[in-house]
Symmetry: C2
C-alpha cells in the first residue's frame, strides 16, 4: 500500500483548528510515513502552521473548504445546504480515493448522514453503526451502536453484531465473544427486537455469540463485543461519562474535606489522574463508523489534542487493516 | 395513623433470613413505633430470633409461609404455581390491610407480577414503574422505570413522569424538575415514543417538565426526576453499578502498584469506602413500585443488612407520606 493519507475536518469540534492543527503536527512526528490533509478555511489553518520545516509541510496538506457544519445543525441542512463544508469535502476526498480515511470531531448526525450519502454502505448493510472501545475490568470491549440508529430492528442488531465481531478481530482480538445487551441473561428477558436478534445470532456460523449480557457484565469484561440499539448505547456511554466525572468530582471533594484528607489527596493525585483517563473513553478514543465503503472516525466534540490523536490512531489502524474490505469479505459469508 | 406495620419477605434475596432477620431487628431498634412482620418458613426465621427480649418480640411478628419464589423463576410460575410463597403472602397482608407496606429482596419480575395481581394499579395507571434514587453531583435524582416495562408507549412514559414527580414531591422535593432521558437535548432527537411523550408533557399542567436530558446530564444533577423505559433504565442502572465496581477495583489496583502507592492507598481507604457507598445506590436504596394501590419496595437481591434497612426506610417513608393515596389524588387531575 502507498503511504496512508488521512483527511481531517480541521473545523470540527469545540476547539476547531486551534486544537486540531497542533494535534496533527504532533501526530505526524509519531508516524513517519503518514500524510494528513487538513480540510477547512485555509487562512485559519495556516495560522497554526508557522514555523513548520519544509520537510514537515510535505506531509501536511491544506485543502480549502469555505463552509462549516455547526454542532447544532440538522443533518439534512448539512447534507443539502452546505456543498463546500469542511466535513463534506474531507469525506469527498475519501470517496474520490484521495484519502484513505476521514476524521472529524464535528456534528455526529451530520457526519453520519454525509458519510452514508457520499461513501454508501457495504452490500448487505442497511445502516452503519458507531462503535468505540469501552474500558472493562479485564481490558476493553467494543460497544455498538452508540447513537447512529435510535430505532433498530432485530436484523439491524444482527448486522451490528457481525460488524462488531469482524472489527474486533481486525483490531487484534481473535474469536471475539459477542453478546447482546439486555435487562437480564435469561431467555425470556428483553424486548422483541433483542429476542429475535438472539435467535438470528444463535444460527449464525462464524460469530462467537455468547448470549445476553447486562450493564454490569459489560464492565466486568464478560464480552469483547456488546451490541445494542443506538438509543441504549448512547445513554450507556454518556451516563458512564457522567458517572466518571461525578466520581472525579466526589474524590476531589473528599480529598478537600479536611487537612489530613488534603495531604492524602495530594499524594493520590497522580493515581487518580490515570484513573480518570481510563474512564473517559469517548474523549480519548475515536468512535468508528462501521459498515461504510470507507473509513470514518468520529472524535468527541470536546476532545482536545490527545483525543484528536486517538481518533487519528484509530483511523490509521483501520487503514492498515483495510477494515472496510475485510468487513466486505466476511459479510458476504455471514449476511 | 396507627403504628406502621411493614411485611417483609424474609426468604428473598441472595442471603435470605440469615441476613434479613438481623437487619429487621436492628431496624426496629431505630424506630420505636414500627412493627415488622417476617413472612416465610417459621423455623428458619425463629433460628435468628434467639435472645430477643419479650418487648422486642412484641413488635416483630413471624407469619409462616411454606413456599419460596426462587430468583430464576418465571413470574407466571410464581403467580400460578406457588399460592403460599413468602412473597405472595407478604403482599396479601398489604392487600388485606394487615400491613401498610411490603418489602422484598426476591425475584423482581415475580414481585411485580404478584403486586399487580394482588394490589392492582391506581385508576389511570396502565403499568406500575420501578423508581430509585440515583446519586448526582448535586444530590440525587429519581430514575424510572428501572426494568418493570421493557416496551413503553408515549403514554406510559407520560404516566411515569407524573408518578415520578408526585413521588419526588412527597419525598421532600418541591416542584421537582422532570426530564425525559434522550440521546440529545434538541427537539429532533430521540425515538417516536420519547418525542410523543415530550409533547404530552409540554401540555401537562402541574408537572415541571424541563425537556430532554442526556446520560451525563443525569449525573450532573440537571433534573430531579428522569424518565425512560425499563430497558434503558435497567441498563443505565446496572452499567453504572458495573462502572462503580470497576472504579473501585482500579483504585485498589492503583494503590497496590507500588510501595508509595500502597501507603497513600491505606490513608485514602476511608474516603474511598464512603465513595463506594455513594456509588452503589441499588444496593443501598430500595427501588419502589409506583402506581399500585399499596406500597411495595424491592431491595437489591445482593443487598446485605444495610441495603435491607434502606429498603425498609424507604417503605416507612412512603407509609408516612401515604404515597399511593397522594398519587391517586394527583393523578385524578393529571391523567
Amino acid at each position: 500500500m502507498s503511504a496512508p493519507i488521512i483527511a481531517i475536518d480541521a473545523m470540527g469540534g469545540d476547539y476547531g483548528p486551534h486544537c486540531i492543527v497542533p494535534a496533527c503536527i504532533s501526530f505526524l512526528a509519531e508516524y513517519a510515513f503518514l500524510q494528513l490533509v487538513l480540510v477547512g478555511q485555509a487562512p485559519l489553518i495556516e495560522e497554526h502552521l508557522h514555523g513548520l520545516s519544509p520537510v514537515e509541510r510535505q506531509r501536511l496538506h491544506v485543502h480549502h473548504a469555505s463552509e462549516i457544519v455547526t454542532m447544532d445543525e440538522r443533518p439534512s441542512q448539512a447534507l443539502r445546504g452546505k456543498p463546500d463544508s469542511s466535513m463534506r469535502v474531507a469525506l469527498e476526498l475519501v470517496r474520490d480515493g484521495k484519502a484513505h480515511a476521514c476524521v472529524s470531531a464535528g456534528n455526529t448526525g451530520a457526519l453520519m448522514a454525509l458519510s452514508r450519502y457520499l461513501l454508501k454502505t457495504l452490500p448487505g448493510i442497511d445502516r452503519p453503526a458507531m462503535v468505540t472501545a469501552v474500558p472493562t475490568q479485564t481490558g476493553h470491549c467494543h460497544l455498538l451502536d452508540l447513537g447512529a440508529n435510535v430505532d433498530c430492528s432485530a436484523e439491524h442488531l444482527y448486522q451490528f453484531a457481525v460488524m462488531g465481531a469482524v472489527a474486533a478481530e481486525a483490531l487484534g482480538k481473535s474469536n471475539p465473544r459477542v453478546a447482546l445487551l439486555n435487562v437480564g441473561t435469561e431467555d425470556i428477558k428483553g424486548n422483541q427486537q433483542v429476542k429475535l436478534a438472539a435467535s438470528l445470532l444463535q444460527q449464525a456460523r462464524g460469530v462467537n455469540y455468547i448470549g445476553y449480557i447486562e450493564g454490569d457484565g459489560l464492565y466486568r469484561g464478560l464480552a469483547d463485543v456488546v451490541v445494542c440499539d443506538g438509543f441504549v448505547g448512547n445513554i450507556l456511554l454518556k451516563s458512564s461519562e457522567g458517572l466518571a466525572a461525578m466520581v472525579a468530582a466526589r474524590l476531589e471533594e473528599l480529598f478537600n474535606s479536611s487537612l489530613p484528607a488534603k495531604a492524602v489527596g495530594l499524594m493520590a493525585m497522580p493515581f487518580l489522574r490515570r484513573l480518570r483517563g481510563d474512564l473517559t473513553p469517548s474523549q480519548h478514543n475515536g468512535a468508528s463508523f462501521l459498515g461504510l465503503q470507507g473509513i470514518v472516525v468520529k472524535s468527541h466534540g470536546s476532545a482536545k489534542e490527545e483525543g484528536i490523536q486517538s481518533a487519528l490512531r484509530r483511523a490509521l489502524l483501520e487503514v492498515r487493516e483495510n477494515l472496510p474490505q475485510r468487513l466486505h469479505g466476511r459479510l458476504e459469508h455471514l449476511l
